[in-house]
């Protein structure tokens, strides 16, 4: 039976691919969810149309990375999928319902006239619920999941606690930053000025929350504490918080000097650093502190079979995703595409 097990470290490759897919999802859907979070605060209806137009061609491509992350988890690490989904049953379903409302709002609001406000709110609250639930899942995830044998053994409400509530709020601000800096890049005039103000406003909150999460994870878990604060690890890892701090300063300066494109990419940098920090803390757990990615790995033949296709298709996917961003480059149009 065909297998690449002998020549490749398949679980590690798949772990890398999955982590990358999830990060791409966080970035890409992050900015359009962020636009949804900021949506009702825009100064006028024309601004809101431009907000919509700036993300309309991309949103379903972006959301596809979520499907890929879910599907990839199922395909490459079925055990982790089988434990995490029941563990986060309710937040996952609520997230999905939020995504439904915001997803259809794109199509419906341009067709509605009198009922447009309903879809504006569906878009806004759908984005908030989806983001908040993702944040709560993140909080519950880093706190750890109870496992017995090959299945989830905790309480259905384990995910609901003050800590996950905090991470939920934190992610709202995080996505709002991505959304605001995206708008700084993709819009101009009144909308652009407003986005710039929003971005510098949420930037402070993002900093505070990143600080809280960075401090709380080592406090909650002795293993993580040891990892970060023992020597010589500390010297290797200290660049992560330092680079993050530098990124915040650059975003702040750019926003106040009228730079248009760089704040978005620097915000991506902030997310990358946060993600890296979490990744280092949680390595090598896929279901924190119960199942590692090696234990959860699917059969080598299964991982090999999908890997062949992935290595062929993923570069193509990335190319045409980039192509679609290229086609709709520049400032978003004022008129509806619909």
């Amino acid at each position: 039976m065909f297998s690449l097990e002998g020549s490749l470290d398949l679980p590690l490759i798949w772990f890398g691919l999955l982590v990358t897919a999830l990060f791409l999802y966080v970035l890409l859907d992050g900015f359009d969810l962020g636009v949804g979070i900021l949506f009702p605060f825009a100064p006028s209806d024309e601004c809101r149309d431009r907000l919509m137009n700036s993300i309309a061609p991309f949103w379903d491509g972006n959301e596809t990375w979520l499907v890929l992350s879910g599907g990839g988890l199922f395909a490459a690490f079925p055990l982790a999928y089988a434990i995490l989904m029941p563990a986060f049953y309710m937040p996952v379903i609520l997230m999905l319902l939020g995504l439904i409302f915001r997803g259809v709002a794109f199509e419906f609001r341009f067709k509605a006239v009198k009922s447009r406000f309903i879809w504006d709110y569906a878009f806004h609250f759908g984005s908030i619920v989806a983001t908040f639930m993702q944040g709560m899942i993140l909080g519950a995830f880093v706190k750890g999941v109870q496992v017995q044998g090959r299945s989830f053994a905790g309480n259905p409400f384990d995910w609901l606690n003050a800590y996950s509530f905090m991470t939920g709020v934190a992610l709202l601000f995080g996505y709002a930053l991505l959304g605001a800096t995206w708008l700084v890049m993709k819009t101009d005039e009144i909308t652009g000025d407003w986005a710039r103000k929003c971005a510098s406003y949420v930037l402070g909150y993002v900093g505070v929350f990143m600080g809280i999460v960075s401090i709380s994870v080592p406090i909650m878990n002795a293993g993580v504490r040891h990892l970060w604060f023992s020597l010589p690890n500390f010297y290797y890892l200290v660049p992560v918080p330092l680079v993050t701090a530098a990124l915040f300063i650059f975003i702040w300066r750019d926003l106040h000097r009228g730079v248009e494109n760089r704040p978005f990419f620097l915000s991506i940098g902030v997310f990358l650093m946060g993600y890296l920090g979490l990744g280092i803390s949680l390595w090598p757990w896929l279901v924190p502190f119960a199942v590692t990615f090696r234990q959860a790995a699917a059969a080598a033949t299964s991982q090999s079979f999908l890997l062949v296709g992935t290595l062929v298709i993923l570069p193509i996917v990335l190319t045409y995703t980039a192509f679609c961003y290229y086609v709709f480059r520049g400032k978003a149009s004022r008129e509806g595409y619909y």
């Binding site: 039976m1 309309a56 061609p57 379903d60 491509g61 959301e63 596809t64 979520l66 499907v67 890929l68 599907g71 199922f74 395909a75 490459a76 079925p78 999928y81 089988a82 434990i83 995490l84 989904m85 029941p86 049953y89 309710m90 996952v92 379903i93 609520l94 999905l96 319902l97 439904i100 409302f101 997803g103 259809v104 794109f106 199509e107 419906f108 067709k111 509605a112 090959r150 299945s151 989830f152 053994a153 259905p156 699917a298 059969a299 033949t301 299964s302 079979f305 999908l306 296709g309 992935t310 298709i313 996917v317 045409y320 995703t321 192509f323 679609c324 086609v327 709709f328 595409y337 619909y338």
Partner: protein, 467 residues
């Protein structure tokens, strides 16, 4: 009562509900995407603006349907884990990669090029736009390929082994992807999707003809739809028969339930109608045609067909649901074929576009494809019970360690959400249909002028990019 909520039953209800809702959208978009590609091709080939006008009307409906298909599809990729985690764990080695390929090859292709298809008409060249439409259409077919491959494995599993820990391991991928029922299921489903779209297009075309509106476009819609009804609907009967015979070989219990046949016999009759009673082990009020069942299934008058009593009670699917769903599906298929025959007769007598009664009939047939697709899926999925993977894993062994109450809450949330969202979606589609194709305004609008240009204007005007 609350402590008696059965997680297996609730999970099945939730899955059946979300999946039934989801299947409406692919059933329509698979056909619609291909039809749009044909329309754009005709437009590029003939330069006849009527095709572009129809394209623009239907691409909007496609966008709404596709959006709803995407969001309800995202739900599906998570429900495997939330509700069937034991199944996901045990069968993950096999089904994971199949679904993974679906996401990789199809989902991305569709989602990315849909942007160009919907918003790129004036931004990219004609050929590139046409390519985007074709790619989206191919994406829908590739998607169907992998999903149906995964489903077919659950119906007719092969190419795997079961390890000591109870997990399924792949042995031969070619056998897994092309399991015995897959080719039949794929052809049967894609044809069903094409027919569904055709009858929607035909129904809407008839609606315009009846009101004497958009006559030029309506004739094309009805005409193209009836070409499908004449040629493809009878083919579907053939494909269905092939699929049925395949099921007879691999899943005889399902066929016995479809036929409502309890006793194993040679020269088995066909129960045209009836009311199977699972407890009494008999089909009441049966209207039988002698020996027909054997003839269809074995192609011999005297062939042996196994009855449900050949299996113990806990191996039998819920017979009534399978029996009735099958008759709904076949009944609609026969109505579709008759529609095709009537259309052919009317066409030959040159009355296709002004026979009022026929237009009413086609309007009534608009949702027929959806009902048939749904009924068909009920036959095949319910007919597989009590197994989730035929003969390998029971549905009751597959469920997540989630309690009844959270599932009951989530079912209610899904019902309310889907009712609101998809109700609104249908309403906007109705509005788009009510408005109909935008002819003149659209064409001139794209050129940046309000009305037909005068010769004097044309001299000075730059040529627009598209009609």
């Amino acid at each position: 009562m609350i402590e008696n909520l059965d997680p297996v039953l609730l999970s099945r209800i939730q899955f059946a509900f979300t999946l039934s809702f989801h299947i409406f959208f692919p059933a329509f978009t698979i056909g619609l995407a291909s039809w749009l590609a044909v329309l754009e091709w005709r437009w590029l080939k003939t330069g006849n603006a009527v095709y572009a006008v129809i394209y623009h009307m239907w691409v909007k409906i496609f966008a709404v349907t596709f959006g709803m298909g995407v969001v309800s599809g995202v739900v599906m990729s998570f429900l495997f884990g939330t509700n069937w985690s034991v199944f996901s764990d045990k069968a993950g080695n096999i089904l994971g990669p199949l679904l993974g390929y679906e996401v990789l090859s199809a989902f991305f292709l569709e989602a990315s090029f849909l942007g160009v298809m919907l918003f790129g008409w004036n931004r990219v060249g004609r050929r590139l736009h046409f390519a985007a439409t074709v790619i989206v259409a191919m994406g829908t077919l590739i998607s169907a390929f992998w999903i149906l491959s995964a489903n077919s494995f659950m119906q007719t599993p092969q190419g795997f082994r079961i390890a000591e820990n109870g997990l399924l391991y792949p042995v031969n991928w070619l056998q897994i992807v092309f399991s015995p029922s897959f080719p039949y299921r794929f052809i049967h489903m894609v044809t069903a999707a094409y027919l569904t779209t055709a009858f929607v297009a035909g129904g809407i075309g008839s609606f315009y003809l009846r009101g004497s509106r958009h006559i030029k476009e309506a004739r094309v819609m009805l005409g193209m739809a009836m070409i499908m009804a004449v040629f493809v609907a009878p083919m579907q009967l053939l494909f269905g028969d092939m699929h049925g015979r395949n099921t007879f070989i691999h899943q005889p219990t399902k066929v016995a339930a479809i036929e409502g046949l309890w006793e194993t016999q040679r020269g088995a009759p066909l129960n045209l109608f009836g009311w199977p009673d699972q407890e009494a082990e008999t089909t009441k009020y049966a209207v039988e045609i002698p020996e027909l069942s054997s003839l269809i299934l074995t192609h011999e008058l005297n062939g042996e067909v196994k009855g449900l009593k050949a299996w113990p009670k806990d191996e039998r699917p819920p017979v009534l649901l399978v029996f009735l769903s099958f008759r709904i599906m076949v009944g609609i298929g026969i109505l579709m074929i008759s529609t095709g025959v009537s259309a052919l007769v009317l066409y030959l007598r040159k009355r296709l576009f002004d026979a009022k009664w026929f237009h009413y009939w086609c309007m009534a047939m608009t949702p027929a494809g959806f009902a048939a697709v749904l009924a068909g899926w009920f036959v095949t999925e319910t007919g597989r019970q009590p197994y989730i993977i035929q003969g390998v894993m029971r549905t009751s062994e597959a469920v997540s360690p989630v309690q009844g109450i959270p599932i009951a809450i989530s079912i209610s949330a899904f019902v309310l959400t889907y009712a609101a969202v998809f109700g609104a979606g249908s309403y906007y589609i109705m509005k788009l249909i009510g408005k109909g194709p935008e002819t003149e305004a659209h064409i001139y609008g794209s050129h940046g002028v309000k009305g037909p240009p005068l010769i004097t204007d044309l001299v000075s005007e730059e040529e627009g990019r598209h009609v």
